[in-house]
């Protein structure tokens, strides 16, 4: 199989795993797509370094684009590439990110280290004490008072 075929197949398999095998249903959640949007940006940057500097190279028979050149970077965008990398890498990355996150959530749902939960960010309040709420939401409304920031809080 080509990289193109494998990359498409991997997305199908991982989405099936997320929805029906692990039943984590991450692809139905806002929290996943927001996280993915952040990660895919950094994927384009770091993968652009791998491929733009020629650290990793690809065979034109396995991808939509052409074989990576011997000297110099491949096309930045177009000809089957985005940020120097084969567009297949977006599918590969999606599968890797979704599988990693779904596995993490599946383990938590199975009861493994559900706590300590994330948050609150350091600009909201001090470390959650024994009186702090147990939910994933930070203790809003508790005034940390020694800080005038937090203007970016929506």
């Amino acid at each position: 199989m080509t990289y193109t075929q494998l990359a498409i197949a991997s997305v199908v398999v991982v989405v099936i795993a997320d929805l029906w095998l692990l039943r984590t249903r991450m692809v139905t959640r806002k929290v996943f797509w927001t996280s993915y949007a952040i990660v895919v940006f950094f994927q384009l940057v770091s993968n652009g370094m791998f491929t733009g500097f020629g650290i990793v190279k690809y065979d034109g028979d396995a991808i939509i684009g052409e074989t990576s050149p011997l000297q110099g970077p491949p096309p930045f965008i177009g000809a089957g590439r985005i940020a120097f990398a084969p567009i297949e890498d977006l599918l590969f990355g999606f599968s890797l990110i979704l599988l990693s996150i779904a596995g993490w959530i599946w383990l938590g749902r199975a009861g493994l280290q559900r706590t300590p939960t994330a948050g609150p960010p350091i600009w909201r309040a001090g470390p959650r004490g024994p009186r702090g709420p147990r939910g994933s939401r930070g203790p809003r409304g508790i005034d940390s008072s020694d800080r005038s920031g937090g203007a970016d809080e929506s």
Partner: protein, 111 residues
Amino acid sequence: MERFGYVGVLLFVLLGCLWLEVVLRTRVLARAKRLALSWVLPVTLFIAWDAYAIAAGHWWFDVDRILGWYLPGRIPVDELLFFLIIPLASILTLEAVRSVKGWRSGDEAPK
């Protein structure tokens, strides 16, 4: 120095995400056992994919810019580090979003 090209990019990824554990209190590294088990599935499946792709010639590496140590199947050790660091970065990002937004993610304790 050239042989640190690949791991240099990985270092960039780590610098880009590890601060979340402190500033957004993601508590991912604090849940080490859960993190370690989370690696099993992606590392196993993607290393297998990597081995196939390298054997089939789908992709290859500039030998001057990888560490030069290999796993069975001619997989550079750099690739194993990649398949550890990208899941970590993904999970840190998820927990960072949760830290700020508090959105349900499916692993909350039953009420």
